[in-house]
């Protein structure tokens, strides 16, 4: 494990990605404490302000402090994206491993259906599900999770197929273990490494997708300080204060870059080439 971590930090992507992700985790943990203002407190006389000593990043349409909202919003944004990815990965991993384990016609049927579902663009799929479930952060998490599941299932299956041919699975079958036991206890643990790499990259995508859903009015709802929602709201006030739109955009991009870098770093650390 420490060896892996050292290898991770040796790649430039890994080091930079780890740094950004750690910073984001720190923000999630201490953000609300570090925030200089109440993120919901309105100031009728300080609306649409640019950056100043009192409001480092300026204020929004209600005179709320943008920096404080970003700090509080780190939880609303990143944790939700993380949950969505976790949900999608788990569901996808179970389907993929199961499909690989069953093999034959069942495998064929499952995978063709997964292919069919994947032909719906994930944003459209998430849009439909979010509309079905309702408008809230948790519904958006479910929507993204479900939209991610087919892709994860596909990846897990291909990894699991190689695992299935391994001796310890044959041994377990020979021992007469049940299907559930074999899938969960023998196969899943061995397909986890590639899934983690994929999931890390997907967190970046989930941050973007979650923000996009909020932007389209289907994720977090006002007055939540979710970053995508902040961009969507700020668009209406673009001519009154461009700052409002700039900061949450940068925050989203930064987090996505961090997880992308970390994912690539992990991949390199896990399969060292050259």
């Amino acid at each position: 494990m420490t060896e892996l971590f050292r290898r991770l930090l040796r790649t430039p992507q890994g080091a930079l990605g780890t740094g950004i992700v750690l910073l984001v985790v720190a923000l999630i943990l201490i953000g609300p404490v570090a925030a200089p203002h109440d993120p919901d407190a309105m100031a009728p006389l300080a609306r649409y302000k640019g950056p100043s000593l009192q409001y480092w990043l300026g204020t929004d349409q209600y005179g709320r402090d943008t920096l404080s909202r970003l700090l509080y919003g780190a939880r609303a944004t990143v944790v939700m994206a993380f949950l969505a990815t976790a949900l999608g990965s788990i569901v996808g991993a179970v389907i993929g491993t199961l499909s690989a384990f069953l093999g034959g016609r069942a495998d064929e049927a499952i995978m063709r259906t997964v292919d069919a579902v994947m032909s719906i663009p994930s944003l459209l799929f998430a849009l439909l599900i979010a509309n079905l479930l309702g408008k809230s952060s948790l519904d958006a998490v479910m929507a993204i999770g479900i939209a991610f599941a087919p892709g994860m299932a596909r990846i897990t299956r291909s990894v699991a197929l190689t695992v299935r041919k391994q001796d310890y699975v044959h041994a377990a079958i020979a021992r007469g273990e049940g299907g559930g036991y074999i899938v969960l206890r023998e196969m899943l643990p061995n397909v986890i490494a590639p899934i983690i790499v994929e999931a890390t990259l997907r967190v970046a995508f989930a941050v973007m997708l979650f923000a996009t859903l909020s932007f389209l009015g289907l994720g977090a709802q006002p007055p939540a300080p979710e970053w995508g929602l902040m961009v969507a709201e700020a668009r209406r006030f673009m001519h009154l204060s461009p700052w409002m739109i700039l900061w949450p955009s940068i925050a989203i991009a930064l987090v996505a870059i961090g997880f992308n870098l970390l994912g690539d770093g992990l991949r390199d650390a896990l399969n060292p080439r050259t």
């Binding site: 309105m42 009728p44 349409q61 209600y62 509309n131 709802q221 006002p222 007055p223 209406r236 001519h239």
Partner: protein
């Protein structure tokens, strides 16, 4: 018999000119002799999906319907009824029977004559619930429509009603050919057969509607324009930019956030008129906790209305006093503005049995976004008094299905109506079509009912003043802000006046002056 004829119209127009002269560009526009010809490009902020004038629902659809169709009467800028297809009208002593005389020789766009039979058929279609026309609930208590001869229409009412000529000017009360009214309205989804000042040239719901001058229009002077193109801009920023760059000539609606930018642009006149359009917080008076008037008053006392005007509409509005009549209504009664008083609000809450405050979920539909804007501000303003309000936003269809008229605590959004009676009996009397507050106050019903059947102006004013006071005191809903209506035009557009009703445009009075671009 009392009659209203075309001669009276001059009086109204004179009044309108005097008002208009107060603001310079409008005064100049009316003073100049309108030039004929040219193409006007109007932008709207939503797709024009419904062409059938009986079923239109949003302002841009009203705009198009008004170009293609006529009603019996139309609504002047001063909120009074003006003759349209009806030349004059009269009523009996107890206000239960109204007789309208139609103009001679009016033709539909397909060349067939428009007679009293078409008027009767149109109203039968409107009054048929299957048509699902919004006019059904808004044209007044019509019991029966008959046509004694080709140019006379008689309305028998189920109750005395003084406002019929105004309610007949309702946006959906348009006249269509009897043949279509009887054979199926579906035809009107794709084509227009009206008597309006313009004829339909092309119709692309999401993009562009083109109309051209109707040479057979009953008024030989109007319309002044040869052609109008109604262009759809789903993005308001883009809509504003198109006006600034000169791609369009007139913007029917401007968002408060765009107004300042348009106002400071060269060659653009920003238009603004106080209106009775409002957003309110509905307090279900039949459910806990808002069945207690003290709780309602406590919440009302937390709202800083002057600040709300800034928060919700960037200052382009007037503070409200929990009565739906703004200064734009004829029977508006001035009252001292409710001031926020947190201490008193706390005390009222304690008296009502909530000494440690109370928690409630305030629901806001996502359309238009101003609903959420208001809800979030109310949440913060009510906090110090002990209200813990959780704001929940939902899709408009879910809201209509599950919350509207049912929920105890949500944000409403309503257009200005033509008369005081229309807004009261649409929303607040116990027999109101949309009685969402369930206030059911007999005293209030009596006042509104009496005013309905009173023609004496001063008496009516007194009755409506009492009704407004009553709403202010008992707060069936919190009406914190009235929105000004905002628009914008290029400076060469002549004769356009923003109408406080929001749903009326009167583009047949518009012409193009010096400096207008030549357009195909």
């Amino acid at each position: 018999m009392f009659t209203f004829a075309e001669t009276d119209r001059r009086r109204f127009i004179a009044g309108a000119t005097a008002l208009g002269a107060l603001s310079l560009p409008l005064g100049r526009a009316l003073a100049a002799v309108p030039k004929r010809g040219g193409t006007l490009r109007v932008s709207v902020d939503q797709a024009v999906t419904k062409l059938n004038p009986l079923q239109t629902r949003v302002n841009c659809e009203y705009l198009v319907a008004e170009l293609l169709y006529s009603g019996l009467t139309r609504l002047g800028v001063n909120m009074a009824a003006e003759p349209d297809l009806a030349r004059s009208w009269s009523y009996n002593a107890d206000l239960t029977e109204w007789t309208f005389t139609l103009r001679d020789g009016v033709l539909f766009h397909d060349g067939t004559p428009c007679t009293s039979a078409d008027v009767v058929a149109s109203f039968e279609a409107i009054l048929d619930p299957k048509t699902a026309s919004p006019a059904l609930q808004n044209v007044g208590p019509i019991a029966q429509v008959t046509a004694p001869d080709k140019t006379t229409v008689v309305f028998k009412l189920s109750a005395p009603f003084a406002d019929l000529p105004v309610t007949l000017a309702y946006t959906n009360a348009k006249i269509i050919p009897a043949a279509i009214a009887k054979s199926g309205l579906a035809r009107l989804d794709q084509q227009a057969v009206g008597t309006g000042p313009f004829k339909l040239v092309s119709f692309e719901p999401e993009r562009l509607v083109v109309v051209a001058r109707n040479d057979a229009f009953y008024d030989k002077a109007r319309p002044y324009l040869d052609r109008i193109e109604v262009v759809v801009y789903p993005d308001t920023t883009a809509e504003g930019s198109a006006l600034i760059s000169g791609d369009t000539d007139l913007m029917s609606t401007v968002q408060p956030t765009e107004y300042a930018r348009l106002k400071s642009s060269d060659g653009v006149n920003a238009l603004r008129v106080p209106s009775g359009q409002f957003c309110n917080i509905i307090l279900g008076c039949n459910q806990k906790p808002f069945d207690d008037v003290r709780v309602r008053k406590a919440l009302a006392l937390t709202i800083d209305r002057a600040t709300m005007v800034d928060f919700v509409v960037e200052g382009y509005g007037t503070p409200g006093n929990d009565s739906p009549l703004s200064s734009a209504y004829r029977f508006y009664a001035d009252q001292p503005l409710a001031k926020p008083d947190i201490a008193q609000a706390k005390q009222l809450l304690a008296e009502a049995g909530y000494p440690s405050g109370l928690t409630a979920t305030l629901i806001a539909s996502d359309k238009p976004s101003v609903r959420t804007q208001l809800a979030v501000a109310v949440r913060e303003m009510a906090k110090p008094a002990g209200f813990t309000i959780d704001v929940q936003t939902m899709p408009h269809s879910t809201y209509l299905d599950q919350v509207w008229k049912k929920g105890p605590f949500y944000v409403g959004f309503y257009n200005m109506q033509a008369t005081a009676d229309a807004i009261f009996s649409l929303l607040f009397t116990s027999t109101a079509a949309w009685n969402e507050t369930h206030w059911n106050n007999a005293g209030f019903d009596k006042l509104v009912g009496e005013a309905r059947t009173t023609t004496d102006e001063a008496k009516r004013r007194a009755l409506y003043a009492d009704a407004q006071k009553m709403m202010h005191d008992e707060v069936p809903s919190i009406i914190p802000v009235f929105f000004d209506l905002l628009g914008a035009q290029r400076d060469y557009v002549m004769g356009y006046r923003l109408h406080p009703r929001g749903a009326v445009f009167r583009l047949d009075y518009v012409s193009l002056g010096e400096g207008a671009p030549k357009r195909g």
